[in-house]
Amino acid sequence: MARMKFICDAERCIECNGCVTACKAEHDVPWGVNRRRVVTLNDGVPGERSISVACMHCSDAPCMAVCPVNCFYRTDEGVVLHDKDVCIGCGYCSYACPFGAPQFPSTGTFGLRGKMDKCTFCAGGPEANGSEAEFEKYGRNRLAEGKLPICAEMCSTKALLGGDGDVVADIFRNRVLQRGKGAEVWGWGTAYGSKQAGQPPAGVKS
C-alpha cells in the first residue's frame, strides 16, 4: 500500500520558490496564504541551506490529536486531510503543528468562515473527487487524476520529492550514495517517527 510522504533535499534546494508558486496556482490559493513556503537557514552566510516546508502528513499527526471537533482524518494512503464543514477555526492545530502548516485565511474562497487551510498532498478533501465543491474548498485532487503533488513535480532541481514513501526514499538514497554526502532529511524523523530513514549506509560520509 502506498504511503505518501515528502522529502526535501536541503543540498539541492535553491530557494527559487517554484514549489510555492506552483501550489498557489494549482489550487487557486488566495492572497496571504501559503500552503507551502521556502525557509532559508543562515541566509546570506556561506553554507546556507533552504528547505521547502508544508504539511508533512505526519504518521502520528499532532493536529489530529488536539482538534476539539475531530475534523481531521487520515486516508489509506497516509494523507492527513480535514473537513472544512466541521472545522471551527479555533487554531489549536496551528499551535500543535511542528511545521507551521495550518493557515487561517481571512478573505476569499477559503476564508469566509475562518476555516483552517493547509496542504492536502494534492488529494482534495471530503467532497466528490474532482468536483467543483472540492476545488473550491480544498483545491485540485491530483492524486485522483493519477498525478503527484504539483510542488514536487514542478521542482526544478528535484530537491522536493513527493510520492510513495518507499519510492521517494529509494530515489533519495541513491542520490546520497552518488554524491556521498547530505543524507540528513529535514523533518523526516519529526513527521514519520523514524530517525533511521534517509540515513546513509555504513561507510558513507555525510
Partner: protein, 77 residues
Amino acid sequence: MRVALLISSVAAAFCLSACGDKPQSAGGVKGDVAPYHGVNNKYAQPGWKAGDKNSWEQALKVRTQNNQNEYARTGSR
C-alpha cells in the same frame, strides 16, 4: 389566589421553555472517496484503470521515477 397561581405557573412554564436542550447532532467528518477511484473530468492521466487500486499505485510509482528521479532519466546510476 387561584388565578394568580395559574398565571404564575403559565408564566414560569413559558419562561423556562427556553431552557430546553436541543439535540446537537453534528454530522462529523464526511466520508471521502479513495483517490484510486479516479475523477470524472478531462484532467485524468491515462495509463491506469479507475477503481483498480493496484494499477493506480503502479502508475504513480512509474510517474515518480520518470518525473522525480533524474538518475533514471539520464540512465546513469
